[in-house]
């Protein structure tokens, strides 16, 4: 879940904050709730959900009420790039493997889902084989076949029809040159990329070795879709369920309701408890209203899972009972400012360093919402992702004005210079960050002109379009990124590799360094996890040495557990409440 995706969700405002919406959860020991007959004494209190299952229970039945401030991109597994959606879709859809529904770090483990076991590698990690469990069925009773998995994977490569999903599978599988899409070239033989020797077996062939292929197999793109039922972009109106719930109503932009899928056989599914009888998901609920309804118990979960609004942060701080229902996890997401090196004087590394020395990091942290919203970041890679190391290249508190002046002198601009900073105008936190930098950099003579652009066009037409940034002298641009999955590849590959830079729509705005590219290649090729992580850590450090980015905060969200919700905990896979295990009292 790319940050982009996540953030677009809450329409800037909400998400912008890194802390916005949020999910609800167990009422733990709250004396108010219904008879805790079955509830074993789970963990309670502030941050209880980070490492423990709160309010554990096996009680079935009830309706789980979820809401979100805006609809997300799509419920079609082949067309979605939101973390919340990847988390939630597992209640109605089953990928080949998925993340273990367990608290904290244990949630990062991959476990087989449709497949009997994790992928079996051969040919030096270039070939990966998955065998489906026997007895799998869709909601209409037809059996789930390996061919459906293959079709689904090929289908989601059509980025003109399904614009939202990630492109990893299409990029890494050994696709034949003449394959365009399942709709345009249905007859092209794609067996060189994906084979289905029988109805139960899928074999993936990669262009080059990748030891972490199970991360790809956990993408929603591997959720099976039978070709006969595929209706292209309209498939989102009726996604054929393979999981324990199926859609009852789909009202785009208003609500989704899901009911039990009686064709789902618990014997084929060791990871899902499927406790509630029904899910009701309201879309387009006003953000503050949503928080208040979770506080009151009228709603259980904020699907967005990125944190409550500033107003609710105040209420939670003020009320110990509410605070005991809150969790403050670190997310695999970094808010940062790209320092663009196309235009002078920022083409000089010393001038870029002056910005890193001159920025007031505490003020920047405040801009993103203070200590509950994030920890001061020292690099791009967030802690919690393998390879992270705490760097101390630059100040993390008050600015070091002496060093900033030194750097300015070294770059030949002793009196400072002027440049333009862009930010996403519908994200108050980024606006606040830009204002904060304007203040602190102003003190060392770097004069910023601020320019806000709407999120929807920020990367396609402005900050992410080199032609624009060069012509308009853009020097700084707020940016943010969340891991597609929690490792160095899933976090860094799209934002530090200069070779991913295109004409427009870039997220890597500023890191153009052959040394960094070299490390990325090394990491791709390295099969040993520990060594690979170390290489990603090294690449992260190189980026900081080149002063290509000013990291602001490692995002944290303040999430609220819903009243009367059972089995609520933060999963390390998505850094929000896990949506597979939930139940209601």
């Amino acid at each position: 879940m790319n940050k982009k995706a996540l953030s677009v969700a809450a329409s800037g405002a909400a998400l912008a904050l890194a802390l916005s919406a949020c999910g609800g959860g167990g009422s733990e020991s709250a004396p108010s709730e219904s008879a805790p007959a079955s509830a074993a004494a789970g963990a309670t209190g502030f941050n209880a959900g980070l490492e423990n299952v709160t309010n554990p229970s096996d009680k079935k039945g009830g309706t789980l009420k979820m809401a979100v401030t805006e609809d997300w991109d799509s419920v079609d597994p082949g067309d979605t790039y939101y973390g919340m959606s990847w988390n939630l879709l597992r209640i109605y859809a089953r990928p080949l493997v998925t993340y273990n529904p367990a608290p904290g770090k244990k949630g990062l483990e991959l476990v087989p889902d449709l497949a009997e076991s994790l992928g079996v590698a051969s040919d030096g990690n270039k070939t990966w084989t998955y065998k489906l469990r026997p007895g799998l069925k869709y909601e209409d009773g037809t059996p789930i076949k390996a061919q459906d998995v293959k079709y689904a994977v090929l289908r989601q490569m059509d980025k003109t029809t399904f614009v939202n999903g990630p492109t990893y599978l299409g990029d890494w599988l050994d696709m034949p040159k003449d394959f365009v899409s399942v709709y345009k070239t249905p007859d092209v033989n794609t067996d060189q990329a994906i084979e289905t020797p029988d109805d139960q077996t899928v074999v993936f062939h990669l262009k080059r070795a990748y030891a972490g292929f199970d991360n790809f197999a956990a993408l929603p793109g591997t959720v099976p879709i039978p070709q006969a039922k595929d209706t292209g972009i309209k498939y989102r109106d009726h996604v054929l369920a393979s999981g324990p719930y199926k859609f009852e109503t789909v009202e785009q932009g208003k609500q989704y309701t899901l009911v039990r899928n009686d064709q789902w056989d618990p014997a084929t599914d060791p990871i899902r408890k499927a406790l509630p009888d029904r899910y009701e998901i309201s879309l387009g609920v006003e953000a503050n209203d949503l928080d208040n309804r979770i506080i009151s118990g009228d709603l259980h979960i904020d699907v967005a899972g990125s944190g409550v609004q500033p107003a609710a942060i105040g209420s939670i701080q003020a009320d110990p009972e509410l605070k005991a229902r809150a969790d403050n996890p670190i997310m695999a997401r970094t808010w940062y400012v790209s320092i663009l090196n196309d235009n002078p004087p920022l083409d000089n590394v010393e001038c870029r360093k002056a910005i890193l020395y001159g920025a007031d990091r505490v003020s920047l942290q405040n801009a993103y919402g203070g200590q509950l919203a994030g920890d001061v970041a020292t690099s791009l890679l967030p802690p919690g992702i393998g390879g992270w190391q705490k760097l101390d290249l630059y100040p993390t508190g008050a600015p070091d004005e002496a060093k900033a002046k030194e750097a300015l002198t070294a770059c030949g601009q002793p009196n400072g210079f002027e440049t333009t900073m862009t930010y996403r105008s519908d994200r108050p936190k980024e606006q606040a960050a830009a204002e904060s930098l304007q203040q602190s950099l102003g003190k060392i003579g770097i004069k910023l002109t601020l320019k806000g652009f709407p999120t929807s066009e920020y990367f396609t037409a402005y900050a992410g379009k080199p032609a624009y940034t060069k012509a308009n002298g853009i020097g700084l641009a707020t940016n943010g990124w969340g891991a597609d999955w929690n490792d160095g590849f899933g976090f860094l590959s799209q934002i530090i590799d200069s070779r991913v830079i295109r004409e427009a729509g870039n997220y890597n705005l500023s890191v153009k360094d052959p040394a960094v590219d070299g490390l990325v290649d090394q990491a791709f090729a390295e099969l040993d996890t520990a060594k690979r992580n170390a290489i990603w850590g090294e690449a992260d450090k190189k980026v900081m040495e080149g002063a290509y980015v000013l990291p602001a905060v490692y995002a944290k969200g303040l999430l609220l557990r819903g009243k009367g919700v059972t089995n609520q905990f933060i999963t390390g896979a998505f850094d929000m409440y896990d949506y597979l295990a939930l139940g209601v009292e």
């Binding site: 500033p310 701080q317 801009a367 509950l372 519908d426 606040a432 204002e435 203040q439 320019k451």
Partner: protein, 334 residues
Amino acid sequence: MTAPLDVSGQEQQATPEAVLTGAGGAKAIQGRSLGQIAWMRLKRDKIALGGAGVIIFLIVVAIFAPLIVGWFGHPPNEFHEELIDTMTMTPKGGSGISAEFLFGVEPLNGRDLFSRVVYGARISLLIAFFATLISVTIGTVMGVIAGYFGGWADAIISRLMDIFLAFPILIFSLALVGVLGQFETQLAIKGDTLRILLLIFVIGFFSWGYIARIIRGQTLSLREREFVDAARSLGARAPYILFKEILPNLIAPILIYATLLIPTNVLFEAALSFLGVGIQPPTATWGGMLSAAVKYYTVPHFMFFPGMAIFITVLAFNLFGDGLRDALDPKSSR
């Protein structure tokens, strides 16, 4: 005494203004211009005078904003993060109101709300006045031409008015300000100046339809009046009739509607800033502050002060405008 022309005698009996001046001493009865009569009526309308007082006060505040802020506040963009609780990011003690910070401080960065409201008056009034000037100028010219010349000129201009009246102005302005703002690098003017000019143009240019309609109607009836006929029969040309005969009689409606248009434009500017296409941060505007305050409804002072500033400004102009209408045109229906 049935002579219908003996107006002065009638007036002495009937109109209180005359009585008032008469009571002032043994002065001879004088003829008074329309303007003098209106001024007398206005002077007795305490509510309108109150509105005028507030307007003058606001203008003074806007002009002398740097001085006022120098005495009572802090620079409007200066951060005071030491006043912010870093857990909730709201001001310590709720609002941060103190002798130092008269209106409290903003959440998040602790900027002085008083200074920002005072500086916000500059932007609001500047844009509202000049936008009104533009729309009144265009509206009057178009209205007079349409009303006086009639025929195809009237047909074209009236349809044009219809188009502008039917325009979804707010949505269109959103798009226009957004698009034009992107050409900044190609223009000689930049930053706030460009934005202010842009807003003045957009707001002014799209609201001339209303005033043009009113002026057209008035012109239509004026051009049929005897004094116009008389002038025409004496050989006066169109420009003379327009400027000497018709325009002076339009001063009252123009003034009234200009005064009533200003508050609309204050609100319009606030709405555009609220929606994020107004002046760029960190420059303070009332609408922009309201927009930021929405997220912090638990610290109501943040919304209260800019909100009150807009409210008081709009109310003052409306009261004054109403009073002005009553004074200049007492027969107009309310």
